[in-house]
């Protein structure tokens, strides 16, 4: 389950970063980039909180 969640999260990050580069080299336009980044955001926030546990300094 954790691996599936991580896959969704990293897909979300990829959908956040790559569209910007694709706009730069003229492969997609801004409106598609905005949509892909929105999907990336939803993917990240719907999966990352379930596996990404930050370490508090008071832990241990």
């Amino acid at each position: 389950m954790n691996n599936i969640l991580k896959l969704i999260s990293f897909t979300g990050l990829a959908l956040t970063l790559i569209p910007g580069a694709l706009v730069l080299i003229g492969v997609i336009d801004n409106s598609l980039q905005y949509t892909l980044m929105l999907i990336g955001m939803v993917a990240w926030f719907s999966s990352a909180p379930f596996w990404m546990h930050s370490t508090s300094l008071d832990d241990n």
Binding site: L13, I18, G20, L24, Q33, W44, P49, S56, L57
Partner: protein, 486 residues
């Protein structure tokens, strides 16, 4: 209640507030490098990054000055964390509060807490302002304040009140979960900055990676300041990159964090915060500003670069940093409010935060405010460095105040006041009319010829502070050795 009793109560209350971390961190609680890398990468991609990158652009830096200044300034910041702050933290394993308490006595520690709270409220207000510039995009009738506006419109202020109230309520309800949430946001926010920066480059006639550098030099960082902004050079950018977290590194407030480090080398983990947040994110936000024809409003430039994801990023970036900042401000103010509960204190700090958010000049001058903030607290960090490392090597005692039972370290107080006063004077004499009027009639030619910016004063002030503290400590301990008083 007499004055002495009241003072005594404040000191006791302050001690009680920080009682839980009075003892040095035990060995089993120590962390390796990974924890600090995650922490720094998370904490330094914040709402203010949307303001500071565009501010550098507005000050007319050239591409070479901007990139070179950021590379060197951030390197100096990393070295300050790694070579000054982390070694002290690993040696003493105390929070900044207890470090100051033992070295300077309770009065200076109370003063430090109160001043720190005021600055934190200002910074939290700047972050609320950043968030509101994005929230307002949902309401077409509410315009963000323009470059010349003294105050925003009444509806914008009401929106700031709503956003500020939500932040204050969340800060009252709990800090830990919010801190965790901000760490989850950090990797995504960093990539939003990068992606948005790349996506607006075609608006600046850049259509391949190879065209980026020429565009940087000719169309983005033109070297021409916007109206009302002074000209910045390499030295300004370098000084600012070093100074903007000076309170944390050379000011030593991050000993509170690094006391958990297994080795002092964890200080180098700060590089992840500096080169992601204060290098890549500043460059990206400056590009966004250039693409938006000099518009420095965070919400609007993020919407341009990344659509809804960009606007959400601005809201989250402002919100996740304003929350812990407000929480810490509440904690610091609690010292001066005897019978107030935590929620009342946090709401009081929140009210100050909302007022600050409604003053656009705070964000327009955020580099100055952050500069003063760094220079103001830095001398005490310099004193800590001398107290921990140098005094024992010269046959003097560390933590003289604790060992002698005194309440005030006059060497630390004078070193603090004189060194900050020196920096302020050198800057103010040429930049504030009232100071210029006071100084101009008597200042000699050589003094008039020295014109320095606030951002150049990190090194001179640190050297002055360590020299003064060393000299005054020598005077104090020669007259009243610790052994005869303790």
């Amino acid at each position: 209640m007499s004055h002495d009793e009241s003072q005594h109560t404040i000191v006791e209350r302050l001690d009680a507030l920080y009682e839980y971390d009075r003892e040095p961190v035990a060995g089993k609680k120590l962390h390796g490098h990974k924890t600090f890398i995650a922490m720094f990468a998370g904490e330094h991609v914040a709402g203010t990054e949307f303001v500071l990158g565009p501010l550098m652009l507005a000050h007319g830096v050239t591409a070479t000055d901007f990139l070179g200044g950021l590379l060197v300034g951030n390197l100096l910041a990393v070295l300050s964390w790694a070579l000054l702050c982390a070694p002290v933290a690993v040696r003493t394993r105390l929070t900044i509060y207890w470090q100051l308490r033992k070295m300077c006595g309770p009065y200076i520690t109370v003063a430090y807490s109160v001043f720190y709270a005021i600055v934190l409220c200002l910074l939290a207000g700047a972050m609320v302002n950043v968030s509101v510039t994005a929230v307002s995009l949902v309401f077409p009738g509410i315009q963000n304040p323009g470059p010349q506006d003294m105050f925003p419109s009444v509806p914008w202020m009401l929106l700031a009140l709503v956003v500020g109230s939500v932040i204050a309520i969340l800060a009252v309800l709990g800090f830990e979960k919010l801190a965790q949430f901000s760490k989850i946001c950090a990797p995504w926010m960093a990539l939003v900055f990068l992606s948005a920066g790349m996506a607006v480059l075609p608006m600046l006639d850049v259509h391949s990676f190879g065209e980026i550098w020429p565009a940087f030099k000719e169309r983005i960082f033109t070297g021409e300041p916007l109206p009302g902004f002074s000209k910045y050079t390499f030295w300004h950018v370098m000084g600012f990159a070093w100074l903007c977290n000076a309170t944390q590194h050379i000011g030593m407030s991050d000993v509170t964090i690094f006391r958990y480090a297994r080795k002092w080398t964890s200080g180098f983990a700060s590089a992840f915060g500096m080169y992601i947040g204060h290098f890549l994110a500043w460059i990206a936000s400056a590009i966004l500003c250039a693409a938006a024809m000099g518009n420095t409003t965070p919400g609007e430039i993020a919407l341009l670069g990344a659509g809804v994801a960009g606007a959400v990023c601005v809201v989250i970036a402002g919100w996740t940093t304003a929350n812990p900042t407000l929480y810490r401000a509440g904690l610091a103010i609690q010292v001066a409010t005897p019978n107030w509960q935590r929620w009342k204190v946090t709401f009081a700090a929140g009210a100050f935060m909302v007022i600050t958010a409604c003053i656009p000049d705070v964000n327009r001058n955020l580099d100055r405010i952050v500069g003063f903030y760094g220079l103001f607290f830095m001398p005490l960090g310099a004193c800590i460095f001398i107290d921990v490392w140098i005094l024992p090597r010269l046959g003097m005692v560390s933590n003289y105040i604790e060992k002698t039972g005194k309440l005030l370290s006059w060497p630390a107080l004078l070193a603090w006041i004189i060194s900050f006063g020196f920096s302020f004077f050198m800057y103010a004499k040429d930049h504030y009319a009232w100071m210029n009027k006071l100084v101009a009639p008597w200042q000699p030619d050589w003094l008039a010829a020295i014109k320095v910016d606030l951002l150049f004063m990190v090194g001179p002030e640190w050297i002055l502070a360590v020299s003064l503290y060393l000299f005054f400590s020598w005077l104090q301990q020669r007259r009243h050795p610790a052994s005869t008083n303790s």
